[in-house]
Subunit: 204 residues, 4 copies
């Protein structure tokens, strides 16, 4: 087996391993939800389980968004090394804490648990951004990527999911939060298009 084959095999096994951890974390989110002891009719059941199901839906969305981020970033890699292993393990170690964070969210639905939860979500984004930055700027593990695009990717994954998660909770209290979120998504859409156009001009 040549060195290059071996590095690609390493990357492949790392991706499969990460997928397994994401899949288990996402499925375990629901395992601590138990039906109430007594309930009378479907509306009573949903009233009693509403907070838990809501927390489950939010965390499911969070894991989903990070799985998509992770997949996109690993699609841009061409090899793996020992440092990437370690950085990826830090990402997975934080993802595996999300079922605990979710439990926190529904046990005290006062404002106290929210910053802890949002902090954990933001930390995962930062950890993925560190992984990407290492791969792009230090470890030389990516397919060729223009430097501004690489910086843009790092910033987006570091800031966006945490900010969106915080804004979602803010929006439940202050409705202008939704407008801010819509604005950010529209702005990013335009920015993505522009970067794609610049890249096309350069390759043309």
């Amino acid at each position: 087996m040549s060195e290059q084959d071996s590095a690609a095999g390493h990357l492949h096994r790392l991706v499969l391993f990460s997928d397994a951890v994401f899949a288990i974390a996402i499925t375990l989110l629901a395992i601590e939800i138990h039906p109430p002891h007594h309930w009378d009719g479907i509306s009573d059941l949903f009233a009693k389980m509403g907070v838990k199901l809501g927390a489950y839906a939010i965390s499911f969305a969070v894991v989903g968004i990070y799985w998509i981020s992770h997949r996109r970033i690993f699609q841009r890699l061409r090899a793996a090394n020992g440092v990437l292993d370690v950085l990826n393990f830090i990402v997975l170690g934080l993802v595996a804490l999300l079922p605990l964070g979710t439990e926190l969210l529904w046990e005290q639905h006062a404002g106290q648990a929210l910053p802890v939860y949002v902090g954990l979500v933001a930390l995962i984004g930062v950890a993925i951004a560190v992984l990407w930055s290492y791969a792009a700027f230090i470890g030389d593990l990516t397919h060729p990527t223009p430097r501004p695009e690489a910086i843009y990717i790092a910033l987006r994954v570091a800031l966006l999911p945490g900010m969106m998660c915080a804004l979602s909770f803010i929006s439940l209290v202050y409705p202008w939060g939704w407008a801010v979120m819509a604005g950010i998504i529209a702005g990013l859409h335009l920015l993505n298009k522009r970067i794609a156009r610049t890249a096309q001009i350069k390759t043309a």
Copy 2:
């Protein structure tokens, strides 16, 4: 890596990830079943655990049927995109709730839990149908499929599993339910044959 390779790799990773979630959900079905504290002889054990084992068998069959549906539908896809990611996550999020639904089923074996459980099962079918409809009619992600066949697939996966699940429970009370189920299966068998024949004529 060409764009086409990348889309196929995306699809492949999505399939592996879904399989992992299905596998975990199906195995967790049994994790909340615990042996009774006291039992005397095998017949007493099965009498005390009968309801739980029955609910486990039903849910195992439900996950199995949806895994087969999911596999069949993804076999017809040729690529994936971001929207498919999201639609697939909704399917997986509902599948991951089945262990909770199963627990509901055995804690109150009165009629109250049944509609909730059947509703969850039916919702999974609808979510898979939405995913397929997006892939076939909007996202252009499928291998070439004649339009009537695509519509038939969407309707079948949307309606059949939920209906069958409901009929199974109805049949426990009203025995004519079994006859209806047998009739539906026979009718679908004829319809499948006819569609296969039509497709053969067209390609000939």
Copy 3:
């Protein structure tokens, strides 16, 4: 995608899915084991946890043996179909019950739980044998296998693990059990060699 490719892809996805269920079942075996509330020194800890760790070791060996059986049998298949899906789900549904069976084993370490546990183990063997028999004799899903060898494989997987499991427990009480087990293993070793030689003569 040709029909043959599709059938091989189906088989591949079935194998991966089964592996995931086996892996989860084997890891969940340990999840219900908790440390004792009070213990004093390592010997006290092991004295208090001995039965649980013993039951864990036995079940781990059982899942391991069946994983190896499953791998060997699927190595002989060349395609999958819907019936194989269903038969494989029955195997997995029984494997997923092993954590429950293990719990049964350590909660009542009287003779009552043993026949239930051995029965479950034996049932998994029978389910794998049914799967193999369908694939070899009815569904035509195997690589070419001489009929006597196919029959021998079916009988071995149906009878051997259950018998070995029962003998292991019997041997704890009646030491002659170990001699019987050694004899069976030696006999099978000779038989395997003879079958391999016969096959060589035929192909020569």
Copy 4:
């Protein structure tokens, strides 16, 4: 399928299966951590959960290190056989006990649980070393590896993780432990370089 293909397929399935068990074990580490019933402010939350989160971080690092060891060793293999299956199952069986070991660690944070935990960690290293030694010296399952390098690999995986884990705990009490660890890592780094240089000279 030729015999060689079959042995490579066997190895591939063994790797995927092991990865699944590692992924599940690593994710289950967090599942027994629950938030405290009452807490007041983030600093109180972390004060109450500090021991558990610390134990989680240590065990996550342990599983991560062993996953990397396992990946590296399996990268050097070219085939698998029945004995490798059994030896690998022993490794996985010990890895699956780590969530239990972690629980032990946080329930009694007296010195009593530490030797049990370090013992389990060391045992996993020994089990991987036995697997490697079998593959390299008896089963002839590896890509060509010079004998001294094979011996070095076996010794390193047998001794290093257990020693490092023990030193980490010792360092919490006696700060000179950190210096010893830094010395070992520096020494190994030099040794690795030297072995790589010797190998280059030989192939040149």
